[in-house]
Point group: C3
């Protein structure tokens, strides 16, 4: 493993090894494994869990980190090839990425979707432009359509919850004040498919997962003994579910059109996870959510504060998942 960009691109066996390593590092710390190693962290977008847990993961393994935040303490970075840089951005990623990687042993980058052109975002045009410039191990801290650190932590959490491999996993759209990127739903869909689960994407009309994501997940699921379907039928989707993975995302039918998106979601206020959503699920069905979550908009207090919520455990697993990734990328070099 040279980089950590896309969980779905790893052979399933390699994911299982990463999960085993995460469990091992959780139980038997290796406080000197990355002594002297440096992780550079470049955040084009805000963060809480990733910002804290990546630094903590390096520290737990004996390494150190530095954080660069374009637009806050550092200037804005230009990403467009061939740009005449007479505007706000003072530096191009063609300089910034090679320079930053020269100061560290691995680079983590967060660069959200632009949210205007679905094809461009599906092609990961922004993150790929960065990745192409980086020759040190690179970690995707959330790109337009991926969040592999989250997906690995999710898988670990589902394992810990004792969820059978072929159980029903419902990726359930929930409401939010505005359109959010597809990164986490795409990563969760891929992860659950790769794990071999019976994956159901439950979302209202206008919020269908893009076909390429469904196709890829379908192929991964088929190879692992699972399946992927999509529906807007809440009753059918939730019946028998063992994992309810709630997530907000923007309208894909009106991608980049904030006004149309807002109009659609205005009528979807009841797409919020409540206790009543679990009436027909498996009795031990648990709630996952990558966080941050809008309480009483996306998920009701009663669920987040109740016994079905595994969101804190899921977030805590970010640390161990990332320790495994960093260990794999840096400890054996």
């Amino acid at each position: 493993m040279r980089d950590f960009l896309d969980l779905g691109a790893l052979p399933r066996a390699e994911v299982l090894e990463l999960l085993a390593l995460a469990r091992r590092l959780q139980e038997r710390p290796e406080p000197a494994a990355l002594a002297g190693r440096i992780l550079g962290l470049l955040f084009f977008n805000p963060s809480l869990r990733t910002l804290a847990s990546m630094q903590a993961a390096m520290a737990r393994l004996g390494g150190q980190s530095f954080v660069i935040t374009p637009g806050s303490g550092s200037w804005q970075l230009e990403t467009r090839a061939g740009a005449v840089m007479a505007g706000a951005a003072a530096e191009h990623i063609r300089e910034a990425i090679p320079v930053l990687e020269s100061y560290c042993d691995a680079l983590g980058v967060r660069a959200f979707a632009e949210g205007r052109d679905l094809a461009a975002d599906l092609a990961e045009r922004g993150f790929t432009a960065i990745a192409d410039l980086c020759h040190k191990p690179l970690i995707n801290l959330e790109s337009a359509m991926n969040h592999p650190c989250q997906a690995l932590a999710d898988w670990k959490t589902i394992d810990e919850l004792g969820v059978p491999r072929q159980a029903k996993f419902v990726l359930a759209w929930v409401n939010h004040p505005r359109a959010l990127p597809l990164a986490v739903p795409a990563a969760a869909l891929t992860m659950a498919a790769q794990r071999g689960m019976q994956v159901v994407v439950l979302r209202p009309p206008g919020f269908a997962m893009p076909a390429p994501l469904l196709q890829r997940a379908g192929a991964l699921a088929a190879a692992a003994g699972g399946s992927v379907t999509e529906t807007d039928d809440r009753a059918a989707a939730l019946a028998g579910a063992q994992v309810l993975y709630a997530k907000e995302w923007g309208s894909t039918a009106h991608y980049g059109d904030a006004e149309a998106d807002t109009r659609l979601r205005a009528a979807l206020g009841d797409w919020m996870v409540r206790d009543s959503c679990f009436a027909t699920t498996a009795p031990d069905c648990r709630l996952l959510h990558c966080l941050p979550v809008r309480r009483n908009v996306a998920v009701a207090d009663e669920v987040l504060d109740g016994p079905r919520s595994a969101v804190r455990q899921e977030a805590a697993n970010r640390l161990y998942a990332q320790m495994a990734v960093l260990h794999r990328l840096l400890a054996t070099r």
Copy 2:
């Protein structure tokens, strides 16, 4: 000691032990005492000394830190129970605190007073909401009505200055362009009382310390052989003082009313510490101030740059005080 939330709640003997530990760590460093330990730092409000000295304290003991600043690099956090989160805050402290504590061994939090409702701030409603969510050792980096790290450093400084236990300690209100919180004056009042000093709160009409703070300080002083009084008589207060602890705070008679507060303080421009304030103090009376200080508004250059000022030593002691706290919380676990 499980947390470090309130110096006044610690038995006096335990404070003396912390002070002895601070002196020991200052003289005989323990660069590996917290090797592998991680301190999470959550700043809802700006900081210079606390931000730098907490990181330095961890580093001096061999540990590491990470810093989260809601609203800058991380999103805003909701604190109200039951909120329907359709506004600016993307995440609730009910998620953020448990998640952040899962990435570290101890959490330090700064959350200033809301400054609207005196009773709510006296009840530490905001900080308590956070503390209730945290199960790892928690350090108060300044709450609505407390700043125990500052108070411990103050006590250490007063000891170093050779101030007798029962000397006269004057907590003197000074002017500032706007209303500041009561956290530091409350903590200084409590600390001096707990140390057993003859404490005088000197403040103009409209800026009386809230009764519950005075009562608590009075009880602590009585138990330690000291006393607490309050006055607006500058001549009487300053006569014989051995410590002049200058501090700005907002009108308590008009708590949360910025307009009334501004009107009051417009007539109080001469409530600034000048050399002339020391005319009738003890000859070796020293100036303390927690910093930041508005020069020539709160304290004149002549005092800050003269021999009476101990404010730099006081600030430097933040490092050793906090090393002691971190050592006590984390080294023996």
Copy 3:
């Protein structure tokens, strides 16, 4: 060496020793040389390379850092002596600097030119006010007229490129949307002179280097067997050049007058480095630039992406140059 404020003030032999140390630390890491040491970093202005590489340099040597950014996470700092602080700044550097240095073993400070009064900036009035307050080793991370960390990395890079000592070094003005400070051109001029090169400052009318900088560079060059001249004749300047050091700076004839500066540079759009600039240079002439660089405004893509560019190597050398500086300042104390 007690501080690192000005490369030109160091004896040439001491610079050569620093360069040798930088090469040694690059080849033979010393991961424990600064174990337990703390570097404080105070940034009054934005940064990418310096912010990342100073933290990385400490980490590579086993130490740690903390970062303070007035105006972001910390409040604004007042620098004027005698100020009545009733404005935006909450703290004076007369407190902030001594306090911050008390938390670390060395302090690095970035404080750009004010850009209003050329004489004040040439006198380094701002940085000197800070330096006078600091009694721990101090590192200049870019002041009004200096950037010694950059200059040391530049020298190292020129050595690595195999450029003969007395080769022709052209400091070439290039365009930019607005007036930038003189710190880097002043430091590069001084460095190349001190190295003993044939230094030519190439700039359009209105952008002459201030006389004191030219005089100082001339004296350093003379002592090292080189020379310093200035011209606005691009053909003459570029002929035979072995290093083309491109840099943007503001009009010195209209220092602090943004309108006049903008008017001047509106006609200077062709002062951009293109491949054609190398038509008459030495065949192996290389491009240096401190970065950040405005692509296709200051330097064309074709040059930055072509074989003449050494800007990434130059930026990478910041790490090793600063490791040498930190090692010299802290390892032997």
